[in-house]
C-alpha cells in the first residue's frame, strides 16, 4: 500500500515569533524549523501502517523553499522511503488553495491509496489544506483522527475522530484523506541509523511546470500581522484579609467584570 504524507515545515514551538518589517509576515531570522507536530503524527501513523502490513511505501511531500529539504530529510530519517519537494518561485506566496492544488496534482501522479496530513500546521493554524486537497481529489476525508485501521485488503479505512466527550467512528472507502490529531500515536525519534540511511534516499525536486501548473494569484491576502498586546501587569491587593477580600471582589466585579 502506498501512503503519501503531506508535511509542513514550521517554526519551532519554542520560538518567540516576531512580526517582520513588512508587517505582513513573520521575521524568519534565527528561527529553528521543525516538522509541524501534527504532521509528525501523520508520518508515524503512515510508518506504522506500512510496518503492520509488512509492505508498502511511504512518501513524504512538502511545499516550500530550500530550507524545507531539512524537514523532508527528517521524515526520511524517521523511516519514509522517499520524499517530494515542491520548490518553485511560482509558489513563493501561495495560499492554502494553491498549496492544495499543487498537492492534488502530485497525488494524482503518485496515486497513493491513502493521504495523511496533520489536523493543522502550527504556524498559522489554518487547518484548511487537507480539506481542500480532499475536495479537489473528490476523495472522502476525516479530520482530528485519534485511531485508524486499514482493512486487510486495503479497500477501506475505519477512522475514529475526536468529538466532545468521545470518538466518532467512520468507515471511509480508499483512497481517502485523513488528518491526524494529537494522541493518534507517539512519534518515534529518528535513530542514528535512520539519519545516516536518509542520506541515500531520494528527495525529488518538483517545479510547478512539472505538474502543469503556473503561478496563480492568491485568493487570500494577508493584510497585516499584529503582535498580541503585552499582558497588563498583575496587581497585589494589600491590607488585612477582610478588607482585601472586599477589594478583590469589587475589582473582579467592577474592573475585570469577571463575576
Amino acid at each position: 500500500m502506498k501512503i503519501l504524507v503531506a508535511i509542513k515545515q514550521v517554526p519551532d514551538t519554542a520560538t518567540q515569533v516576531k512580526v517582520g518589517g513588512d508587517g505582513k509576515s513573520i521575521d524568519t531570522a534565527g528561527i529553528t524549523w521543525i516538522v509541524s507536530p501534527y504532521d509528525e503524527y501523520a508520518v508515524e501513523e503512515a510508518l506504522r501502517i506500512k510496518e503492520k502490513r509488512g509492505q508498502g511505501e511511504v512518501v513524504a511531500i512538502s511545499l516550500g523553499p530550500d530550507r524545507v529539504r531539512e524537514a523532508l530529510r527528517s521524515c526520511l530519517a524517521m523511516g519514509c522511503d522517499r520524499a517530494i519537494h515542491l520548490n518553485d518561485a511560482a509558489w513563493s506566496a501561495v495560499d492554502t488553495l494553491a498549496t492544495a492544488r499543487a498537492l492534488a496534482a502530485v497525488v494524482t501522479q503518485e496515486a497513493p491509496q491513502l493521504v495523511l496530513c496533520g489536523r493543522q500546521a502550527i504556524d498559522d493554524d489554518m487547518g484548511a489544506v487537507t480539506a481542500q486537497l480532499a475536495e479537489l481529489l473528490g476523495w472522502p476525508c476525516a479530520y482530528w483522527i485519534m485511531e485508524e485501521a486499514v482493512d486487510a485488503d486495503g479497500k477501506t479505512v475505519r477512522a475514529a475522530r475526536q468529538v466532545e466527550g468521545g470518538l466518532e467512528v467512520f468507515d471511509l472507502p480508499l483512497p481517502a484523506v485523513l488528518a491526524a490529531q494529537k494522541g493518534l500515536n507517539e512519534p518515534r525519534y529518528p535513530t542514528l541509523k535512520g539519519i545516516m540511511g536518509a542520506k541515500k534516499k531520494e528527495i525529488k525536486d518538483v517545479k510547478a511546470a512539472d505538474l502543469g501548473l503556473g503561478a496563480e494569484p492568491a485568493q487570500l491576502a494577508v493584510l497585516g500581522l499584529e503582535a498580541l498586546p503585552p499582558r497588563p501587569p498583575g496587581r497585589i491587593i494589600e491590607g488585612d484579609v477582610p478588607s482585601a477580600v472586599k477589594e478583590l471582589v469589587r475589582a473582579l466585579r467592577e474592573d475585570a467584570k469577571a463575576i
Binding site: 530529510r73 527528517s74 525519534y189 529518528p190 535513530t191 542514528l192 539519519i195 545516516m196
Partner: protein, 382 residues
C-alpha cells in the same frame, strides 16, 4: 559556526536535533528523580541503545553505528544537557570508559557476549581500576587475579566505581604477575552476579544521580576466556582506554559551562539591586565576559581534540592538557555563577549550586590534574 568542519553536515545537524529532543524529553525532566534514587533508571540505557547511541563508534557487526568520533562528540555534547551530571557520567562510563578496550582488544566471543548487549543497552558496564589504596598511582593497585586452570580467582577491592549498583559487568584491572612490573596487569570482564562479589554505595557531595561504590572481591571465579586482549597487557590497554575516558569531560565541559553561563545571565538580567539589573553593573558584565573568554577558549581546545580523534591521531598530550584546562574553567565558572546568584546559588536545586559540587570532581576523577600534568610533562620532555 565554530566546529562547522567537525559537525556541520546535515546528518550531524539532524542527529543533534534528534538527540536533543530525546535528552530533553526523556532524561532532563527526570533529572531530580535520578538524584533521589541515587542512580539513573536502568531503563534509560535500553532506550539509549534503541536510539543507537551506545555504540556510535563501534563496528556494526556488534550493533554499533560504525561512525567516526564527530558523531559521538555530538552525543556527548547533548547528553551533558540532561540536567544531571551523574547520569551523564554513568552513561559515558558505558560508552567511553568501560567498553573501548573490549571493542579494541577483546576476542570475538567476548565481544559477542558483552559488547553486543552493552551497545543494545541491555547490559550496564562499569570500569573498575581505582582501589582504596591506589588511584592516581594505577600501578599501585593490589587486587589479584590468580590462574586456577581455566579460571581467574580474584581477591581484593575497588573504590569509587561509577555504575556500581546498575552494572551487569565490570571491566576490571587486576594484578596477574606481581614480579613483571607494568607487564603484570590484566583486564578481565567480571559479571556482577558472580558469587563472591559484593559492594557498598558511597554518599557523595555531588553527581548524586550516579551510583558510586566500593567493590569487594572474595574468591570471585571467572573464566580465563573473560580476559580482554592479552593477559599481562592490561596496564597498557587501560592507559589506552583512559584517553577515551578523558575526552568525555573535554567534549562535554564547554557545552555544560556555556549552559550555566546562559542560565546565570538570564538571572542577572532580571535580578535588580540598587536600582538596576545585576548584569548592568560593570563588575558583573566583566565577569560574564571573562567567563566567556574561558568557555570559548575551552571550546576551541575541545574542537582540536575532537579533530584529532576523528583523524585517528594520538590525543594523549592534547587531551591531558585539555582535561586540566576544561576542568579548571568549569570550576571557575561554577563558583562565579554561584556568586552571581547570591543566596539562591547556595540552594541545592539551583543550577550553579549543583554545578559547584558536581564539577568539583573534574580536577580529580579520571586522572587528577597533577597526574595529567605528569603525563604532559613526560610527552613534552620536560
Amino acid at each position: 559556526m565554530a566546529g562547522e568542519d567537525i559537525y556541520g553536515s546535515p546528518e550531524h545537524q539532524a542527529f543533534r536535533a534528534a538527540t536533543r529532543k530525546f535528552v530533553q524529553t526523556e532524561l532532563a525532566p527526570r533529572a531530580r528523580e535520578f538524584d533521589e534514587a541515587g542512580r539513573p533508571d536502568k531503563a534509560i540505557f535500553r532506550r539509549l541503545g534503541e536510539m543507537g547511541l551506545l555504540g556510535i563508534r563501534y563496528d556494526p557487526k556488534y550493533g554499533g553505528q560504525g561512525l567516526d568520533y564527530s558523531y559521538h562528540a555530538v552525543f556527548l555534547e547533548e547528553l551533558t544537557l540532561c540536567d544531571n551530571a551523574g547520569v551523564g557520567m554513568g552513561v559515558s562510563v558505558q560508552t567511553d570508559m568501560a567498553t573501548p578496550a573490549l571493542a579494541r582488544f577483546g576476542s570475538e566471543a567476548l565481544k559477542e557476549r558483552y559488547l553486543v548487549p552493552a551497545i543494545r543497552g541491555e547490559h550496564v558496564a562499569a570500569i573498575a581500576v581505582t582501589e582504596p589504596g591506589a588511584g592516581s598511582d594505577v600501578a599501585g593497585i593490589k587486587t589479584r587475579a590468580v590462574r586456577d586452570g581455566d579460571w581467574w580467582v580474584i581477591n581484593g577491592s575497588k573504590m569509587f566505581i561509577t555504575n556500581t549498583a546498575n552494572a551487569d559487568w565490570l571491566c576490571l584491572l587486576a594484578v596477574t604477575d606481581p614480579a613483571a612490573g607494568y607487564h603484570g596487569y590484566t583486564q578481565i570482564i567480571v559479571p556482577t552476579d558472580t558469587p563472591g562479589f559484593s559492594y557498598r554505595l558511597l554518599d557523595k557531595i555531588g553527581n548524586r544521580g550516579s551510583d558510586t561504590g566500593l567493590l569487594f572481591f572474595d574468591d570471585v571465579r571467572v573464566p580465563v576466556a573473560n580476559t580482554i586482549g592479552d593477559a599481562n597487557r592490561g596496564f597498557q590497554q587501560q592507559m589506552n582506554q583512559f584517553q577515551d575516558e578523558r575526552m568525555v569531560p573535554v567534549v562535554a565541559g564547554p557545552v555544560a559551562a556555556r549552559r550555566l553561563w546562559e542560565l546565570t545571565l538570564e538571572h542577572a538580567q532580571q535580578r535588580v539591586a540598587f536600582g538596576k539589573p545585576l548584569a548592568k553593573m560593570q563588575v558583573n558584565r566583566f565577569k560574564f565576559v571573562e567567563m566567556m573568554i574561558q568557555i570559548t577558549a575551552a571550546q576551541e581546545v575541545a574542537h582540536r581534540c575532537i579533530r584529532k580523534m576523528v583523524a585517528g591521531e594520538d590525543v594523549t598530550l592534547d587531551v591531558s592538557m585539555a582535561k586540566v584546562f576544561v576542568a579548571n574553567m568549569k570550576q571557575y565558572v561554577a563558583t562565579t555563577c554561584v556568586q552571581l546568584f547570591g543566596g539562591s546559588g547556595y540552594i541545592r536545586e539551583n543550577p550553579a549550586a549543583r554545578a559547584y559540587v558536581d564539577w568539583r570532581l573534574g580536577t580529580i576523577g579520571g586522572g587528577a590534574d597533577e597526574v595529567m600534568k605528569e603525563v604532559a610533562a613526560k610527552l613534552l620532555r620536560i
